[in-house]
């Protein structure tokens, strides 16, 4: 009963915020010489007219779901993992390295399972190191995770210039993956691969872990009341390390779905902003794993729609970021106003209770 009311409240506040954000964004379009009404029709018809473009929404959403989940998981422990981008890159490196090195020696499905596990292990290791520094040395996880991304970006560039570089040694990228280690396509006429299924399954599993297991319970208790956690026999430092490792593993998994499912090779500056988008998605979904799926789909839609818009009108490509920015801003503002409104009603209730 309570949960349903909570759900309804979220819809009532969030959906109008999204539309308001889009509306304001459209009001800016005349400045770029685009008519708002034309832009709106182009975007909707452009996106939903053919299968391939619609499929792109799912493709864009796949890694975003995973980085959104990564941020959500640590957020539940009241930690901030700003470094999903770096953990994603490490996942990419592991997936690419395993797929390339083992590609011809053992059967494709086995390689993919190894790449899947390797990507998670790689991302998880980075996450664990951050959690370890937080727990044992009291380091600020926000800064450490953020800086770790920069370190990893240079590590990636170095690797692409040396041991992972293509045989031609021309560009900073790897060889293409052999076809038998590509994730199978699941919808005809699109490039949508099994990756989206993995991402959605990951969201469901994260939800199950958080809400149905004692482990997830302890993570949530640690996040909501660290003092009560300590006096309940929970060791917050341990929870920090595990939560960060899990978070890193989820971000690393995005590396696998991107490398084996979509790009089939690794290059520099690859999907450079999915980490930061993931943070926005998680915040928009209030860190609810299932909500992350929908928030990621919205981001996917805006990205694809924005691309269509910039291709078929005079609007610059940055219109995508403009839309994302406005939608994010309004959703965050809606949280603020919702909190204010709820506090005020709570105060009022308390007052009427006292008077009666």
């Amino acid at each position: 009963m309570n949960k349903r009311r909570e759900f309804v409240r979220m819809i009532v506040w969030t959906v109008p915020a999204i539309f308001l954000g889009l509306l304001i964004c459209y009001l800016f379009l005349p400045l770029m010489g685009v008519s708002p009404s034309e832009a709106f029709t182009t975007m909707v018809t452009g996106v939903f007219s053919d299968r391939f473009t619609m499929g792109n929404i799912l493709i864009k959403a796949t890694p975003l779901i995973l980085t959104g989940l990564a941020f959500s998981f640590t957020y539940k422990a009241n930690l901030y993992n700003i470094g999903a981008q770096g953990q994603f890159y490490v996942g990419c490196m592991f997936a690419a390295a395993i797929s390339l090195r083992l590609g011809e020696k053992i059967p494709g499905p086995v390689v993919m399972i190894l790449a899947f596990l390797g990507a998670m292990a790689g991302g998880g290791l980075v996450g664990f190191i951050i959690g370890f520094l937080k727990a044992k040395a009291g380091a600020n996880e926000f800064l450490v995770s953020m800086m770790s991304t920069y370190v990893i970006i240079y590590l990636l560039q170095y690797s692409l210039g040396s041991w992972l570089q293509e045989d031609k040694h021309e560009y900073l990228k790897t060889n293409s993956l052999k076809k038998d280690v590509w994730l199978p396509k699941i919808i005809d006429g699109t490039s949508v691969s099994l990756g989206i299924v993995i991402a959605v399954a990951a969201a469901v599993i994260v939800w199950l872990i958080l809400y149905k297991t004692t482990f997830g319970f302890r993570v949530r208790v640690t996040g909501q009341n660290i003092n009560a956690a300590r006096l309940s026999g929970i060791n917050p430092k341990k929870e920090y390390m595990i939560a960060f490792a899990v978070s890193g593993a989820i971000a690393g998994l995005a590396g696998f779905t991107e490398i084996n499912g979509m790009q089939h090779m690794l290059l520099t500056d690859f999907e450079g902003s999915i980490g930061s988008y993931g943070i926005g998605i998680a915040i928009m979904a209030s860190a609810n794993p299932i909500g992350v799926i929908f928030a990621a789909l919205l981001f996917g839609f805006l990205q694809v729609g924005g691309t269509v818009l910039s291709h078929s009108t005079d609007a610059p490509a940055s219109v995508i970021d403009l839309m994302l920015g406005f939608v994010m801003l309004f959703v965050l503002m809606s949280f603020f106003f919702r909190r204010k409104y709820e506090l005020r009603t709570m105060k009022k209730q308390a007052l009427t209770k006292e008077e009666s």
Binding site: N2, T213, T214, V221, R230, L231, A350
Partner: protein, 538 residues
């Protein structure tokens, strides 16, 4: 002669001020006046609203209703800056000093503009220090100074700003005894110059040392104002005791026939350079016995409960439960041994407000595999158990899925008590189990505690409410500044005598000798005092 110093002209008048936060009424209709040359002590438990009302005067919080007058003029103090302009300064419990800067730099911070004449500033600061005999060097680095000196720097900051109304929030909490004495001397001489002081504390002895007038606060209200000349330390103890309680029937038995369950053997918690939290605590609790710990809050009760629950390691001594050494076990291991603990501050330590009632009921047992198979929780099981407890304890909650934070305080506490009583199959710690509850809920909690005693559990009851300790305990230990002042059978001492012990008066100095015995193994004659003696319940 002392009285002449204080003129009857109010400097500060706090007039019917209330302060409401979203959920709590922190101050309700508080009226306090402060006269020129007067030291007013605000005495009360933690959470009684002392700091809140002073933070309002200092402009950190804003009142919901009421008014404040300074020198008879109504003032709207919206920020500390406004307060300082009126000559009001507040020294917070946690200092706001820059450790890497010198004393002078800290003091002139925020009081200088443009080019700084360091020599001139240093001279002024040194003068100030010498005038009050602080012994602080203007050139010293603040980070190198001991806590007592740092406090003096804070005071000098206020003096430098020509402050005439000084608010001190628990200034002695961090000080060593000698430092407390010099602080008290300063306050007296500062007031003697015609300045006024608000002194927030929960220690009765300090109040008697320094205050001219004492305002006692309780639950956000002023519950009494007395002048020092007309009050005794024992009266203060009684003023801090709340309402009377329904008399509960309690069977008395001689606990010495029963087996010892918990043995606390010369336990201390002392860290280098800090005041000891606990000093040489030594007692035992038998099966089916309630040991009450009486004391003014902040005298080591929290540390005692934490040590017994594994949240704090003793630095000396050992603790055994049924003969097994538990002093080095962690909290989870304590829980597994059947020890329950109702923390004094349930919001902070005993529950997770935004989680459901069910989730809160399984808070302590997440490692016990009571509700899960290989880590997968059966919420059905937890919900059923929670519903049972809702019915059994008549907790007013629609169903187990509501958040515990949405329940009233009494119902939250009932839920926490239900859980801890169940977790503590051998030994239960109740730290202020009825703080902030209404009479009905208090009664219910008391009945529960007595029922658990009948069931043979050992119980440690920490309370600042003397009446509660008297109603429930078999034996009473009095704690003051981390030391046990003595352990007595219930009925051996009067309220006044216990009050004196709580205030730190050693047992030898009590006005009437407390019977012939003072240790925890009374002989012969004392036995007839089991249960409740006359004169304890007024």
């Amino acid at each position: 002669m002392e009285q002449n110093r204080i003129t009857q002209s109010p400097v500060v008048e706090i007039d019917h001020v209330s302060k409401r936060f979203a959920k709590v009424l922190a101050n309700c209709d508080v009226s306090i006046t402060l006269n020129r040359g007067e030291v007013v002590a605000l005495l009360g438990e933690n959470g009684a609203g002392k700091s809140t009302i002073m933070n309002i005067l200092y402009g950190i919080y804003h009142m919901t209703s009421g008014e404040i007058r300074v020198d008879g003029v109504r003032q709207n103090i919206s920020a500390p800056r406004d307060a300082m302009a009126l000559g009001i300064s507040m020294i917070q419990q946690h200092f706001s000093l820059v450790g890497a800067h010198t004393v002078t730099e800290n003091i002139i911070l925020g009081n200088v503009k443009g080019r700084i004449d360091y020599e001139e500033a240093e001279r002024k600061v040194q003068e100030l220090s010498d005038r009050y005999q602080f012994g602080v060097s203007a050139k010293a680095k603040v980070g190198d100074l001991p806590v007592g000196m740092q406090q003096k720097v804070e005071i000098m900051k206020a003096l430098y700003r020509k402050c005439r109304i000084l608010i001190m929030d628990e200034p002695t909490a961090v000080l060593m005894p000698q430092e407390i004495d010099t602080l008290m001397e300063f306050i007296r001489s500062f007031a003697a110059e015609g300045n006024s002081v608000f002194f927030i504390t929960h220690k009765m002895r300090e109040v008697m040392q320094v205050a001219d007038r004492i305002v006692i606060m309780r639950n956000g209200r002023v519950s009494g104002t007395v002048s020092k000349s007309e009050v005794q330390m024992s009266d203060l103890a009684r003023l801090m005791i709340g309402h009377d309680l329904e008399v509960l029937s309690r069977t008395s038995h001689d606990e010495r026939k029963r087996a010892v369950r918990l043995r606390v053997d010369h336990v201390s918690v002392e860290r280098k350079g800090e005041l000891p939290l606990l000093k040489d605590i030594d007692f035992e609790i038998h099966e089916g016995e309630i040991l009450g710990v009486a004391g003014v809050s902040g005298n080591g009760q929290d540390a005692l409960c934490e040590v017994l629950y594994g949240a704090l390691r003793p630095t000396a001594g050992r603790i055994t439960l049924d003969g097994k050494d538990i002093s080095s076990l962690n909290v989870a291991q304590h829980i597994a041994l059947g020890i329950g603990s109702c923390a004094s501050d349930r919001h902070r330590y005993g529950m997770v407000s935004d989680m459901s009632l069910s989730e809160n009921m399984m808070l302590k047992s997440s490692y016990l595999h009571r509700w899960d198979k290989r880590g997968w929780i059966s919420w059905k099981k937890v919900d059923r158990y929670t519903q049972e407890k809702i019915d059994q304890y008549t907790i007013k909650a629609p169903d187990p899925s509501v958040t515990i934070g949405s329940l009233s305080g009494g119902n939250q506490q009932k839920a926490v008590v239900a859980r801890e009583v169940d977790m503590g199959q051998n030994f239960v710690i109740f730290d202020q189990p009825t703080r902030g509850l209404d009479l009905g809920a208090i009664n219910y909690v008391h009945k529960t505690i007595l029922k658990e005693r009948e069931a043979g559990k050992s119980i440690l009851l920490v309370s600042t409410e003397l009446s509660e300790v008297f109603t429930l305990s078999d034996r009473i230990a009095v704690i003051c500044e981390g030391k046990i002042m003595g352990i007595f059978r219930n009925g051996e001492l009067t309220t006044e005598q216990i009050g004196m012990l709580m205030a730190g008066v050693p047992i030898e100095d009590l006005p009437e000798a407390a019977g012939s015995v003072r240790n925890d193994q009374p002989e012969g004659s004392a036995l007839q005092h089991t249960g409740k003696g006359d004169g304890i319940h007024e």
